[in-house]
């Protein structure tokens, strides 16, 4: 097996008493489009910031293609931050020049290519005058200009209208197809993710709950619908359950064989993730 694109070992990040990430150990394979999902505040942005070297871990380590990341950007990584930081009083052209000057490996043609995609971005427009979609396009173009092997995208689709969302995903998928880049992308837009992602990393309360190929993960789970008074017949781990008067609907991991009287169905990515998120919320509510 080739070295993993991203490898975390005992990775923890605490902000005061808040444990944003707690002792996470996982490998992410190369050349995949990985969906990073989890409830708000689960530690997704923290994980991406750690992988980009923007913040340092409290404990443990994270490495990219075998090289540990510590306190500065790994040369093979590009990062799209959630707030799309760009100098507001620069023109698009000036921002591109500026970011080019801050990088040793830089492909101006790649940036131009990405900016010319879709409706195109006016190079002489001031950054503060750009629409949210155009800002994201500029920010992604700058990230791809670094010719990364690992692309970290923090909420690349937030603030975008459906058309821009679609187009942004198209830019990312073109990159993956052209250069075989590994993409780790956090988002709440599960239906959009399910179209492009082939690997899932689910983080809840600072810990990794699921990490695997989307197909494998989905195959491991079953949505079971059956009589409420017969739940003990179900084998495997019940992730979440919703119960009506007589009938129970359960998301179960490893439910083989399916007990008699129950109907089993394969979950889709969206219902799987929603099941995990609901369970997390119920656990959090029960603690209060």
């Amino acid at each position: 097996m080739s070295t993993p694109a991203l490898c975390a070992a005992g990775l923890s990040k605490h902000f005061g008493r808040v444990r944003a990430l707690d002792d996470c150990t996982f490998d992410l394979p190369e050349g995949r489009v990985i969906a990073l999902v989890g409830p708000n505040g689960a530690g997704k942005s923290t994980l991406l910031s750690l992988a980009s070297g923007l913040i340092r871990p409290t404990a443990g380590s994270i490495s990219v293609h075998g090289t540990p990341v510590r306190g500065r950007m790994h040369p093979d990584v590009a990062y799209l931050a959630q707030n799309r930081p760009l100098y507001p009083d620069f023109t698009v052209r000036e921002v591109i020049q500026a970011v080019g000057a801050m990088n040793e490996r830089w492909s101006q043609p790649r940036v131009e290519e990405v900016l010319d995609m879709l409706a195109g971005v006016d190079r002489d427009a001031k950054v503060r005058a750009l629409s949210a979609g155009a800002r994201t396009q500029v920010a992604i173009a700058l990230a791809l200009g670094r010719l990364p092997k690992v692309l970290l995208l923090d909420e690349p689709l937030s603030d975008l209208d459906p058309l821009a969302r679609d187009e942004t995903l198209r830019i990312v998928m073109t990159e993956v197809a052209d250069r075989g880049t590994t993409v780790l992308m956090s988002s709440h837009l599960l239906s959009d993710l399910s179209e492009v992602c082939d690997h899932l990393l689910l983080v809840v309360e600072g810990q990794v709950r699921l990490n695997g190929d989307v197909e494998d993960v989905l195959a491991e789970h079953r949505v079971l619908v059956g009589p409420r008074d017969d739940e003990s017949a179900v084998s495997g781990v019940v992730v979440s359950a919703s119960r009506a008067e007589r009938q129970a609907t359960l998301l179960v991991r490893g439910a083989d064989p399916v007990p008699a009287g129950w109907v089993a169905d394969r979950p889709d990515l969206e219902s799987l993730v929603v099941g995990y998120l609901r369970a997390a919320r119920e656990r959090a509510a029960a603690r209060r």
Partner: protein, 325 residues
């Protein structure tokens, strides 16, 4: 990197250049006007010798010049005194705070340039032009005040607060200190307004505190007068401590009563004050002073304090920037 940072700070640098051009033009004009006044009233000799009745430079002649020009020159000096604080407020304080407030530091932090290089480029591009402007305006004001010679503020000696703070290394040292203070507080607090407020308050308080301790910055020299009734303090020097010595050369602790005894009493004036002092145990007069010639050393010591603090603040800024997310 320098070009990027220059483009980012372009607006401030242009503003500073404008302040410099306007300030320099005003100083040149006002100096020319003063020089023509001095020439027109034939005060050239008085500039060299100061207020002296025998040289045709009596109080009355000089007074009319000073009525017009003395306060103007003082305002010029106060302008130079204010410049370092302005550099700290508008150059140092927003340097990192504004990027941290807007989150744009993340753009630089996620490229391959190191944080230290990013930081030092920003410091260099902001601080170097500010220093040049401060020094240029300082020299222009010194040149103007110098034209009034001994009938201008320079007559009050090198320790006169407006003169001391605008000559020698002082403006450079104050500027570097105020700039690094603003920069550090901005990087640590991530708030421009907080950084500006703290910079203003701390700079003013520290400047006041250190200027009141000015006479203790170098060791004083003791000057002694054998005639206890005659003091020998040179004009322009700083007196740290003064009093009388007894026959053994020790300081007389409570000389006031003796001095009072030798004052005029009713109709009988004391004719020989010196003898009277000696009779009361005050054998010699003395003063511990920092002479005017030591001004250079005082400047060096004061500048060393400010520059030392500035170095600490720059290092602390590096620490604050490194731990930013």
């Amino acid at each position: 990197m320098i070009r990027v940072v220059w483009r980012q700070q372009r607006a401030q640098l242009i503003t500073m250049l404008a302040v410099f051009v306007v300030g320099a033009a005003a100083l040149l004009a006002v100096r020319a006007s003063m020089v023509s006044y001095l020439d027109g009233h034939a005060l050239g000799n008085c500039v060299a010798i100061g207020i002296r009745a025998d040289g045709g430079c009596g109080n009355d002649v000089v007074q009319s010049f000073q009525d017009i020009w003395f306060d103007r020159m003082k305002v010029g000096q106060l302008f130079v005194l204010a410049l370092p604080v302005l550099v700290g407020l508008f150059g140092g304080a927003p340097l990192f705070a504004r990027e941290l407030e807007q989150g744009t530091h993340v753009l630089a932090f996620t490229q391959s340039v190191s944080r230290i290089r990013w930081m030092s480029s920003k410091i260099a591009v902001a601080a170097a032009p500010a220093l040049v402007v401060v020094v240029a305006l300082q020299l222009l004001v010194e040149w103007w005040v110098g034209a009034a010679g001994k009938i201008g503020p320079l007559a009050s000696g090198p320790y006169f607060y407006a003169t001391f703070g605008t000559s020698g290394l002082a403006p450079v040292a104050y500027t570097l200190f105020a700039f690094s203070l603003g920069m550090f507080v901005g990087a640590a607090s991530r708030r421009t307004l907080v950084a500006m407020t703290v910079t203003l308050a701390v700079t003013v308080v520290l400047r006041y505190a250190l200027s009141s301790l000015q006479k203790f910055l170098v060791s004083a020299q003791r000057i002694v007068s054998d005639d206890p009734s005659v003091s020998k303090v040179e004009p322009g020097s700083l007196t740290v401590f003064g009093g009388y010595l007894d026959a053994n050369g020790n300081v007389v602790p409570n000389a006031n009563s003796a001095v009072m005894n030798c004052g005029s009493k009713g109709d009988a004036p004391v004719t020989d004050t010196a003898t009277c002092y000696r009779d009361h145990g005050l054998v010699k007069w003395f003063a511990d002073v920092v002479p005017a010639e030591a001004a250079g050393t005082v400047h060096l010591v004061e500048a060393a304090i400010y520059l030392g603090l500035a170095v600490v603040l720059v290092l602390a800024t590096g620490w604050a920037v490194r731990r930013q997310a």
